[in-house]
């Protein structure tokens, strides 16, 4: 946890209310997201119990599995889920724009521009918590290898139409959610805890109810108390007033309410099957009771999810969020194309090359996200400055200089007074964005002596300026002695006798972003008095190297994957008859 987050958490404790970590929203929020609040059955891996799903916050669709151990009912649930989600996912597939992209021509081997489709927008799935994201992944894995009767008439237990397809989409969304900064599948707890710091631990922030209690506590109630209530307050019947955001349920609910209702359902079902008089009616009644129970657990979470969405929508979107959302649109479009091309479902395990590619892509995405957030948001940048990864200050001197190359290039030296303490060493690369949004590079060229300038007052400054004039004469030296005199003076007045601070002067040699000429283009070199912010991290980090094709996986990594046995991974345990891995 960074120092600034620790500070924000301490402030949150003191104020009794969550404190903002950002000034803008760093994630894309769709105008029409699909919310999905699932519940799972205790003790039964991957057995859904119910869900609220839909794009209309006032009219979610309630789906339940009255007896989760009955696989027919489970499949009926998944079919209904597909009916609800798949049309939403498909509805974004046909509105496209054309983008130009470089592709390698298979015949000539040259990179040629091609026109490709990019969906104008992409569907966005919202779940309450990180566990919900994991559940989406689990559902995807359990569904995508199923076969429908249409796909394979011989299959012994055909899955309802759309179920395998939804499994592939959920898998894609679950996998995409691992990419830092991606927004196709988001959990509210992660979204909210990115934007606010509460006075509780990260683990406690996983509880959507208590997280919201810190961010938006009821009037007059301190956040800690509201959070405690959300976590543990129970009604007269011993049930939580704020049920957990799932997919796990509260044991008290399972034991006292759900299990008896499920027994009544099982009994009624048995009677109905035997044709006992009134059995069908009792079955309908028992099912209605279960629906009511499951909804009672889901609805508060559903409302909390949309409450969180409202809070996030109140924040303005960061400038670079749209860039990243475009990558999500590419991701969606790419999967749409794979599905349309009839490709098989994603394999059970990644091969060596795919795994390495994914890891490299995610590391690049993480670096890019960190840079984007800092550039979009002065509060995030303040955290990076506090961590010594960036510094901001006022330009107090600019001295023109050129490189020694045959064709000299401008390498102006810019002196910046700052109170930040970046982790600099000689020739550390620095980056900044100019006022008109262009990237500029530089390198750290050493410390300037601020004390001398201040002690000698005018004299040193005049000398310095004269030098600059002599070297350049083009007016760059007109940066004026008044400016640096002021800066030095202000510093001495501000903190007399303190050798450690509050300010020191750093010299940055500009190395790029000044155009191609011998003279820098106008406006590319900061001027005396400008406020500038340099970062030690890159703003557009490069991706990793190209990896070999999976077919040419080297011997160190097991050689090419065996095409005959695509499902690698662990072999079944020969000692255990029931091991069907």
């Amino acid at each position: 946890m960074s120092l600034i987050t620790t500070l924000a958490r301490m402030e949150a404790v003191r104020e009794g209310r969550a404190q903002p970590l950002t000034t803008v929203r760093h994630r894309h929020l769709s105008e029409r997201p699909l919310a999905f609040v699932p519940l799972t059955t205790a003790g039964e891996a991957g057995a859904p119990l119910g869900a609220l799903v839909g794009t209309d916050r006032d009219a979610p669709r309630l789906l339940i599995v009255a007896q989760p151990r009955d696989r027919d009912l489970r499949f009926a649930f998944l079919a209904e889920l597909a009916e609800e989600i798949q049309p939403y996912l498909d509805s974004y597939g046909d509105e496209v724009e054309l983008e130009e992209r470089k592709e390698t021509d298979p015949e000539t081997g040259k990179k040629v521009p091609v026109q490709v489709e990019l969906c104008q927008d992409a569907p966005q799935l919202l779940v309450p918590s990180a566990a919900g994201v994991a559940f989406v992944r689990l559902l995807g894995r359990s569904m995508r290898f199923r076969r429908t009767a249409e796909q394979d008439p011989e299959t012994p237990f055909p899955a309802p139409a759309r179920v395998p397809l939804l499994g592939r989409w959920l898998t894609h969304y679950g996998e995409r959610a691992r990419v830092p900064g991606s927004c196709l599948l988001l959990s509210l707890t992660e979204l909210l805890s990115r934007h606010w710091a509460t006075g509780q631990s990260n683990l406690e922030d996983q509880h959507l109810g208590s997280l919201l209690a810190w961010i938006d506590p009821p009037a007059g109630v301190p956040g800690a108390e509201a959070a405690l209530r959300a976590e543990s307050e129970r009604d007269e019947a011993g049930q939580l007033r704020c049920p957990p955001a799932g997919p796990s349920t509260d044991p008290a609910f399972d034991n006292k309410l759900l299990a008896p209702a499920m027994s009544r359902y099982d009994a009624a079902r048995a009677e109905a099957a035997q044709g006992v008089a009134g059995g069908a009616a009792r079955l309908r009644l028992a099912e209605a009771e279960l629906r009511g129970l499951v909804e009672s657990q889901l609805r508060p979470t559903w409302d909390a999810l949309w409450h969180g969405v409202d809070l996030l929508r109140a924040l303005p979107e960061g400038t670079r969020v749209a860039d990243r959302w475009k990558r999500d649109r590419w991701s969606y479009t790419g999967h749409r194309d794979r599905v349309r091309a009839g490709e098989p479902p994603q394999p059970k395990l990644d091969d060596a090359v795919t795994a390495a590619q994914k890891l490299a892509a995610r590391e690049t995405a993480q670096a890019q996200l960190d840079a984007h957030e800092a550039l979009d948001d002065p509060l995030v940048m303040a955290g990076r400055r506090l961590a010594g990864e960036a510094f901001a200050g006022e330009v107090i001197d600019v001295e023109m200089a050129w490189s020694d190359a045959k064709v000299p290039r401008p390498r102006p030296l810019v002196t910046i007074r700052t109170e930040d303490r970046p982790h600099l060493a000689e020739r550390v690369k620095l980056h900044r964005v100019t006022a008109d949004g262009r990237a500029q590079s530089g390198e750290f060229a050493g410390l300037a002596d601020l004390d001398d300038a201040a002690d000698l007052d005018g004299a040193a400054d005049v000398d310095g300026t004269a030098d600059v004039d002599g070297a350049d004469g083009s007016g760059e030296g007109g940066s004026g002695e008044g400016g640096s005199g002021e800066a030095g003076g202000a510093d001495v007045v501000g903190d007399p006798g303190d050798t450690d601070g509050p300010g020191h002067a750093l010299v940055v040699r500009l190395t790029g972003g000044m155009g191609r000429g011998k003279q820098p283009e106008p406006g590319t070199v900061p001027e005396k008095g400008d406020r500038v912010c340099w970062t030690l991290f890159e703003h557009a980090p490069r991706g990793g190297p190209e990896l070999p094709d999976p077919e040419s996986t080297p011997w160190t990594h097991g050689g090419p994957p065996d095409a005959a046995a695509p499902a690698q991974g662990p072999q079944p345990d020969p000692m255990t008859e029931e091991d069907y891995l």
């Binding site: 490299a360 010594g388 160190t556």
Partner: protein
């Protein structure tokens, strides 16, 4: 302790015959011969060499490179950082000024150490085509990964292979037919800034070390290890071997008394002076400050580190070693300060500057890997912490910090670390299919702490 008694095994490293006195040079020479034999004449595509700290890994790499070149096998060498590459090229060119060596570098400004320009037989270029036909081409894994469409090299040496990530090896493995992998398994493992749990347990987990993947797919490759640390003094090798390499013990190349540290100026009785005397006498010193929870850049601990360094210089430390007949002064460039975090290193640098000390290396464990000094001063990774996270418990971090010195190591630490460790046993989830590493950081920390407590100087600044 689990498994065999390391102390018993330590009596016979390097296959010394029972009854004979241990001859470190002979043991090391036997190991080197076996490695070179497998590399030059073996049938396997790979050879793996484990090297404890300061066991002559660089010497081995230089020798193997020269012998492969002499055998007429074009050789590529893969190292992990530009500093490692420059150092290796410099060593190769110094060992054999006639040997044509290529330094493949990036197209950044100042891509390599200008020292290399002083060697006539070294050619540096950012393009592989410029280096075609040279006996040896050396570069970083990151640069090699961008080389495409070339005839594969007959042989490669992968240096610091335990610090290389599996995905980096994947990117370069197509460039060579056979390879010698050399590295130190006890140092810091490679890591990723994003989660890689989804691949944990797969033989080709891209976030694992290159050697882990290599051996998972090629379990029968010959594996060797270097049995003698030439860097660590006789006072340090047993502890480092026992705490960090319990199943692959090693010995120091020098015996007790062959290295000595002494001071021209007597102790003034202060904590820093007393701990320096203890370290000079025993090779280890623990300067223990009163227990307290502190921020990472604990001002008292940072000041104590700086003061120890200041006194070390002021007292005119001289070191006796097998390298020269005369005692050598321990100057600032022979001293290092090691920390866990970059902000701690920055704070120590500022404190040293405040005391007028310059020229002392101050860095984090990651950046001290592979380096060697006479005396090190370490700010204990767990000093003043309220918790012991996986980062702070990582075995490799402590191992790097405790194995950089030729003479003595002084550790500065708040009291109470043993209790802190007991309150925070390792809680990392156990992943199926992942070989559990022994010793874990928790146990290694306890082993080091138990030893240090015998050399403790309590001090209230």
């Amino acid at each position: 302790m689990i498994g065999a008694d390391p102390a018993a095994a330590a009596a016979h490293p390097g296959r010394a015959r029972a009854g004979e006195p241990f001859d470190p040079s002979a043991a090391a020479a036997r190991a080197t011969e076996a490695i070179l034999h497998d590399t030059l004449h073996g049938a396997d595509r790979g050879v793996v060499v484990d090297s404890p700290p300061g066991a002559g890994k660089s010497t081995l790499v230089v020798r193997a490179a020269r012998e492969l070149a002499a055998a007429g096998r074009p050789l590529m060498v893969v190292a992990q950082t530009n500093a490692q590459v420059d150092d290796l090229v410099d060593r190769l060119a110094t060992a054999d000024p006639e040997l044509p060596v290529g330094r493949l570098h990036s197209s950044d400004p100042h891509p390599y150490d200008p020292v290399l320009d002083g060697h006539e037989s070294v050619r540096a270029s950012a393009k592989i085509a410029d280096l075609a036909g040279l006996d040896i081409v050396v570069s970083t894994a990151a640069k090699w990964a961008h080389i495409k469409n070339v005839e594969p090299w007959r042989h490669a040496i992968v240096d610091e292979a335990y610090q290389m990530r599996s995905d980096a090896l994947l990117a370069v493995a197509g460039l060579f037919e056979r390879a010698l992998f050399v590295g130190d398994p006890g140092q810091l493992d490679p890591f990723s800034v994003v989660g890689a749990d989804q691949w944990a347990g797969l033989s080709y987990d891209p976030s694992a070390s290159a050697v882990t993947t290599l051996l998972a797919h090629n379990p029968r490759l010959p594996q060797h290890r270097l049995p003698v640390s030439w860097r660590l003094p006789a006072s340090a090798a047993p502890l480092v071997s026992h705490a960090f390499y319990p199943y692959t013990p090693f010995r120091s190349g020098t015996g007790h008394g062959e290295r000595r540290l002494s001071f021209g100026v007597a102790s003034d009785g202060s904590g820093p002076d007393r701990v320096l005397d203890e370290a000079a006498a025993s090779g280890w010193g623990l300067l223990e400050l009163p227990a307290r929870r502190t921020p990472r850049t604990d001002p008292e601990a940072v000041a104590a580190v700086a003061q120890v360094v200041r006194r070390l210089l002021d007292r005119g430390a001289v070191a006796v070693s097998e390298r020269s007949d005369e005692p050598q002064p321990v100057a600032a460039d022979r001293i290092a300060v090691g920390t866990a975090h970059r902000d701690q290193a920055a704070a120590v640098r500022a404190a040293l500057a405040g005391l007028g000390v310059s020229g002392v290396t101050v860095d984090t464990a990651n950046r001290l890997q592979g380096r060697e000094f006479d005396v090190t001063v370490v700010l204990h990774p767990l000093s003043g912490r309220p918790d012991a996270t996986a980062f702070h418990l990582e075995t490799g971090r402590l191992c790097v910090l405790a194995s950089r010195h030729r003479q003595a190591c002084v550790v500065v630490c708040r009291a109470g670390v043993a209790e802190l460790l007991d309150e925070h046993p390792s809680t990392e989830p156990v992943q199926l299919g992942v070989t559990v590493k022994f010793p874990d950081g928790w146990e290694a920390n306890h082993a080091v702490l138990a030893h240090l407590s015998e050399h403790r100087v309590s001090w209230r600044p």
